[in-house]
């Protein structure tokens, strides 16, 4: 996973509530079983006046000239609701987004984001309302978002914070606990044998 420490970028506003992952990356834009080639389909229903012809809608925030190369997205409440597709995170990251700031996230999107090095930051809506197109600095070690004169603290659980800062791979880390997992499984197998079917022939 990519490391995340600090980031300064202009913040692109997409201040709508309940933005779902079908809209972030529609199913028809997920053209292969891989994780790449998704940026082009990011927000396709909103970003293109004609999605088939790929005619951009100039009014859509990501299409505005000042959005080019920027890395922070501002969104409304319950961002990333709906489908569990991790492609939503992969598409955002491939386009260049490294941090989404919203008043709240859907849980599966939030977990997917943290696993891939995309930082989801929860801030109150009024704080976000002051940020569109402003330069915003995220400081993950200090857990703050700075915009102009305001500095807002944000919460993140210690484990995902450490994993982001160090760029750790969750599976590698967990495999170090293999002896504990095996011991637990052996105990559980005696307690709940029905959980452990024999291997299919």
């Amino acid at each position: 996973m990519k490391r995340f420490t600090t980031l300064t970028s202009r913040a692109i506003p997409l201040l709508r509530d309940n933005i779902d992952t079908d809209t972030v990356i529609p199913s028809r834009e997920m053209k292969s079983t891989g994780r790449t080639g998704l940026a082009d389909g990011l927000f396709a229903p909103w970003r293109y006046a004609d999605a088939a012809a790929r005619t951009p809608d100039p009014a859509f925030p990501l299409n505005q000239p000042e959005a080019a190369g920027q890395r922070i997205l501002l969104a409304g409440a319950n961002f990333g609701c709906g489908s569990s597709r991790e492609h939503a995170v992969w598409a955002l990251m491939e386009w260049g987004i490294a941090c989404v700031i919203a008043p709240g996230f859907a849980p599966i999107f939030q977990a997917n984001a943290l696993r891939n090095g995309l930082l989801p930051v929860v801030l109150p809506a009024p704080a976000i309302a002051a940020m569109p197109w402003a330069d915003v600095t995220i400081d993950l070690p200090a857990q703050t978002v700075a915009c102009g004169q305001s500095v807002h603290p944000f919460a993140i659980a210690p484990e995902p914070k450490e994993m982001l800062l160090e760029g750790l791979d969750a599976i590698d880390l967990t495999l170090k606990a293999r002896p504990q997992i095996d011991a637990w499984t052996a105990r559980d197998r005696a307690l709940r044998p029905w959980v452990y079917p024999e291997q299919q022939p």
Binding site: D20, P26, A111, T174, I181, V195
Partner: protein, 456 residues
């Protein structure tokens, strides 16, 4: 000794393998279920990293999302590029040694329909799938939730997930549902009153007299929409009905006589982080008007003021009565409402009647091939066909649009599904979600209708 615990806490504690250095927990995962939409990606990534599946006997996969539902189907699908998802999932599943329910398997069906049918999900288990509606399976008393592909890899490679402990919430439905009001309406009423973000951070236990009174299939409908509530998952404590439902299913244990099964409930006196109480007796059939499942109203109500974008997308202004809104298409299917009891209730309204000529496309897509066979044994397929519905093979079908088959451009659709997002059923398609009986009544009327007025 511990004090009184919630049902959720009992499952969590029983699966707690270890704490991590930074205060999360390793939680053992008993079952992983994959489908072709996200399964091949997870299995292929593991193979590429040289990580084997830790215990293949506890991993299952099925073709449900992209697979065609037209009669005589094979690997070909109308979705552009869709065939690769099917063939790559098959290859990856075979290589990994997991159990696959393939396109022509008699047990094929939507993940969350077949897992209970086959007794793969059981009370007290943890089950994850890279699909948000995995919460459906909480109706069987399991802690079952949706994850992403990376987490699916993690669970398959290690047998555990690294998790922060969620909070607990109890949603109690008191009283009794009136005739024509269903579990779907309970879920929509919860969303309408507490919002699509209302359950964030929580595991929701559904409880109360009206929940106990639901059959197992209806409990699945209720738990299905826990993800629409932004909850980690929904769960219902098992009871006699649960064990009667599971008895004799292929992957279920031969008997449920171990004392463990009797311990799976919230202890008297246990406390939740949040409690919500809803009077089920006061509920009416619900239907959505907008582009979030929280945009739900009683079918005899009027469209409230919501986000302007939602009004523009659905073309319905605040103050408009929702009943009587003309529709072009009807869909009965999905992991929310495509089990046998759902089809029976819809068929009861449709029997001997024809849907309105205004309806350009009407589909019934059984939740599994087992549901399809059982429905055909009762003659439900004929009832649907005589009424003007197409009778399909099982799968997700037009619950979501993957390219390929779709509704006519601009269609207003009434669907027994769970998501009315912009474009969910196709670009520009306006979706109204409702119970199967409300879908059936509306298809007959050619406009959103109150099923209570057509019941007999």
């Amino acid at each position: 000794m511990t004090g009184p615990r919630t049902f959720f806490a009992k499952i969590w504690d029983a699966h707690h393998v270890a704490d991590t250095a930074a205060g999360a927990a390793l939680i053992a995962i008993d079952r992983v279920f994959l489908h072709e939409r996200t399964g091949a990606a997870a299995l292929k990534a593991m193979a590429a990293a040289g990580r084997p599946v830790h215990d293949p006997a506890r991993v299952f996969a099925v073709m449900d999302h992209i697979v065609d539902t037209r009669p005589g189907r094979g690997d070909q699908t109308l979705m552009p590029g869709g065939q690769a998802f099917i063939t790559e999932t098959r290859e990856a599943a075979l290589a990994a040694g997991i159990t696959l329910f393939d396109v022509t398997d008699p047990d094929q069906g939507i993940t969350h329909v077949i897992s209970p049918e086959l007794g793969i999900v059981l009370p007290g288990l943890t089950l994850v799938a890279p699909d948000s509606h995995t919460c459906t399976q909480g109706a069987l008393g399991a802690l079952a939730w949706g994850i992403g592909s990376s987490e699916a890899e993690h669970a398959m490679a290690t047998g555990v997930l690294r998790l922060g402990r969620p909070q607990s919430m109890r949603v109690t439905f008191t009283g009794q549902l009136a005739p024509g009001v269903t579990a779907k309406d309970m879920a929509l009423a919860l969303l309408a009153t507490h919002g699509a973000g209302g359950g964030a951070g929580h595991v929701v236990e559904f409880a109360g007299e009206a929940v106990r009174a639901l059959d197992i299939e209806s409990r699945m409908t209720l738990c299905n929409m826990a993800t629409e509530f932004a909850a980690m998952t929904g769960i219902i404590a098992p009871d006699e009905r649960t064990y009667a439902y599971l008895a004799g299913r292929r992957h279920a244990p031969p008997a449920f006589d171990h004392p463990h099964w009797q311990s799976l409930h919230t202890d008297h006196g246990a406390t939740f982080d949040r409690e919500i109480v809803i009077d089920a007796g006061a509920l009416a059939p619900m239907v959505t008007w907008g582009t979030s499942p929280e945009h739900a109203v009683a079918v005899d109500g009027t469209v409230p003021q919501g986000p302007q974008r939602a009004h523009e997308y659905t073309g319905l202004a605040a103050g408009t009565p929702i009943k009587g809104t003309p529709i072009d298409a009807a869909f009965i299917g999905s992991c929310t409402n495509a089990r046998l009891s759902d089809l029976r209730r819809a068929a009861r309204l449709l029997k001997g009647r024809r849907i309105s000529p205004a309806i350009r496309k009407a589909l019934v897509v059984p939740g599994s091939m087992a549901v399809r066979r059982a429905a055909e044994a009762e003659g439900l397929d004929k009832v649907f066909a005589d009424a003007g519905f197409e009778w399909r093979e099982s799968g997700c079908s037009l619950c979501f649009y993957a390219g390929g088959e779709g509704f006519a451009p601009g269609s207003r659709t009434i669907s027994s599904t769970n998501r009315n997002f912009e474009g969910r059923q196709g670009p520009g398609i306006r979706t109204h979600i409702a119970s199967p009986e409300t879908v059936a009544a509306s298809a007959l009327a050619g406009a959103i209708a109150d099923p209570r007025e057509m019941m007999r």
